[in-house]
C-alpha cells in the first residue's frame, strides 16, 4: 500500500500555514487537488473530524488510539 499522495498532503499541511487554513476551511476542494483514493480521503476526513490536526499529545489523540491498543 503506497500512500504517496497522503504523505504529500500531510507534509504540506505541516509546512504551509495557508494550505492548512484552506484544508480546515474547505476540506473537499483542498483534498480534490491531491490524487487520493476515496478510502484515503475518508480516512483523512475522519481523523480531522475526530482528532483534528495532530500536533501534540492530547487526551483526544489518546482516545482515538487507546481502544485500538486493546486488540
Amino acid at each position: 500500500m503506497s500512500l504517496k499522495a497522503v504523505r504529500s498532503l500531510v507534509k504540506k499541511t505541516f509546512t504551509d500555514g495557508k494550505f492548512k487554513e484552506d484544508l480546515l476551511k474547505d476540506p473537499s476542494s483542498t483534498l480534490a487537488k491531491f490524487n487520493l483514493t476515496t478510502e484515503e480521503k475518508d480516512a483523512i476526513v475522519n481523523v480531522h473530524t475526530s482528532v483534528g490536526i495532530v500536533n501534540g499529545n492530547s487526551a483526544v489523540l489518546e482516545a482515538k488510539a487507546q481502544p485500538m491498543g486493546g486488540w
Binding site: M1, L3, T13, E39, V47, V54, P67, M68, G70, W71
Partner: protein, 322 residues
C-alpha cells in the same frame, strides 16, 4: 455477551492448564503471562482473544465449538509475547523479572505446546479430524509468517534506510498474521462459504495492521510509562516518515540519533517527540491507522452481504473512533 464469552474462554484456558501433570508452581508460572494487563486471564481480557468467538457468532449464531481455537490462539500469542520480551532483552517484563530469561523461554515453549493441546480439544466439540488438521496447518503457517516478520524486525530494528513500504510489509508479516489467523480459522470452523472466510481473513489482517500502528504511536506518546521506541532507537512508521520529510536541524538531530551509537538522553527524547509532532509524523501515522480501520469496516460490510450478522464486530471497530 462479551463478558460471558470472556468467562467461558478463561474457563477453557484454566481447564487446560489444570489438566497438565506436574508441579503447581510451574502451572502458576504458566498462568503469569496470561494474567498481565490486557491478557486473557486478566480482569479485562483482550478483544483479539474473543475474535474467533465473535466471528463464529456472527457467521453461524454459535460459538461453543471455537472456544478451544480461541484458547489455542491466546496461548500462541502469549508465547510470542514472552519470546519477544526475551529477544528484546526486556528484563522489565514481569515474567523475566520474576523467573529470569531461562524460565521465560521454558514457559513460552510450554505455552506453544498448550496451544497444540487446545487445538486437539476441538475434537470434544465434534469438529472432524480433517478440519482439525486444516486448522493446525493454518495456525502453523501463520506462526511461521510471524517468525519471518520478527526476523525482519530484528534485522531492521535500527535500519534508517528502510522504506515505508518495506516497513509495512514487515508489519504485514509480523503483526497482522495472529489476528488474520484468528479470524480465518474461526470462519473456517463456522462456514463453508469461501467468500465469508476470505472476508474475515482480510478483516483480521486490517485490524492487525491498525493495531501495530497504534503501538507505533504509543511507542512515542506513552514513552514515559512503558517502552520508548526512541530510547530503543526502534525505527517505526513515525520515524520513517520524519527521516524522509524533516529538514535542516530536525533532520540533523534525527540522523545523529538513529545513525549514531550514543545513548538517547531523556532531554533528547523530548526533542524527538516534539519533532515527530511538528513534522506531522504522528498525524501521518494516525491517518494510516485510520485507513486500515476503514478497510476493516469495509470487509465487515462485505461479510454482511454474504449473510453474516456483523453488528457486534462493527460496533467494536466503530467504537475505536470515539
Amino acid at each position: 455477551m462479551l463478558q460471558k464469552i470472556a468467562h467461558l474462554l478463561k474457563q477453557e484456558i484454566e481447564e487446560l492448564i489444570a489438566s497438565l501433570p506436574g508441579d503447581s508452581s510451574f502451572k502458576q508460572l504458566i498462568q503469569q503471562p496470561l494474567m498481565g494487563p490486557g491478557r486473557p486471564l486478566s480482569e479485562s481480557g483482550y478483544r483479539s482473544s474473543l475474535l474467533p468467538v465473535l466471528i463464529s457468532q456472527s457467521v453461524c449464531d454459535g460459538y461453543e465449538h471455537v472456544l478451544p481455537l480461541s484458547a489455542a490462539i491466546c496461548f500462541m500469542q502469549t508465547a510470542a509475547d514472552v519470546f519477544d520480551d526475551v529477544e528484546d532483552q526486556d528484563s522489565k517484563s514481569s515474567l523475566i523479572a520474576t523467573a529470569g530469561y531461562a524460565q521465560a523461554v521454558n514457559i513460552a515453549t510450554a505455552l506453544l505446546l498448550l496451544a497444540q493441546l487446545a487445538m486437539v480439544r476441538l475434537k470434544t466439540k465434534n469438529v472432524d479430524n480433517g478440519s482439525i488438521v486444516s486448522i493446525i496447518a493454518e495456525i502453523s503457517k501463520y506462526g511461521i509468517m510471524s517468525c519471518t516478520g520478527q526476523y525482519l524486525d530484528i534485522k531492521h530494528k535500527s535500519n534508517t534506510d528502510i522504506t515505508e513500504d518495506q516497513y509495512l510489509d514487515m508489519v504485514a508479516l509480523k503483526s497482522a498474521p495472529p489476528m488474520e489467523c484468528a479470524c480465518l480459522t474461526a470462519a473456517m470452523l463456522s462456514t463453508d462459504n469461501q467468500n465469508l472466510i476470505d472476508a474475515f481473513a482480510r478483516f483480521g489482517h486490517n485490524i492487525g495492521m491498525a493495531t501495530q500502528l497504534v503501538n507505533d504511536i504509543h511507542g512515542i506518546t506513552k514513552s514515559e510509562t512503558g517502552k520508548s521506541d526512541i530510547i530503543a532507537k526502534q525505527v517505526t512508521l513515525p520515524i520513517i516518515y520524519a527521516l524522509e520529510n524533516a529538514e535542516g536541524n530536525d533532520l540533523e538531530l534525527l540522523s545523529s540519533i538513529y545513525k549514531g551509537s550514543d545513548a538517547v538522553t531523556p532531554q533528547t527524547e523530548k526533542q524527538v517527540i516534539k519533532l515527530l509532532f511538528d513534522t506531522g509524523a504522528i498525524h501521518y501515522t494516525v491517518v494510516t491507522m485510520e485507513l486500515y480501520r476503514q478497510k476493516a469496516l469495509a470487509t465487515l460490510k462485505q461479510a454482511a452481504k454474504y449473510g453474516s450478522d456483523t453488528k457486534t464486530l462493527t460496533g467494536l471497530v466503530e467504537s475505536l473512533q470515539d
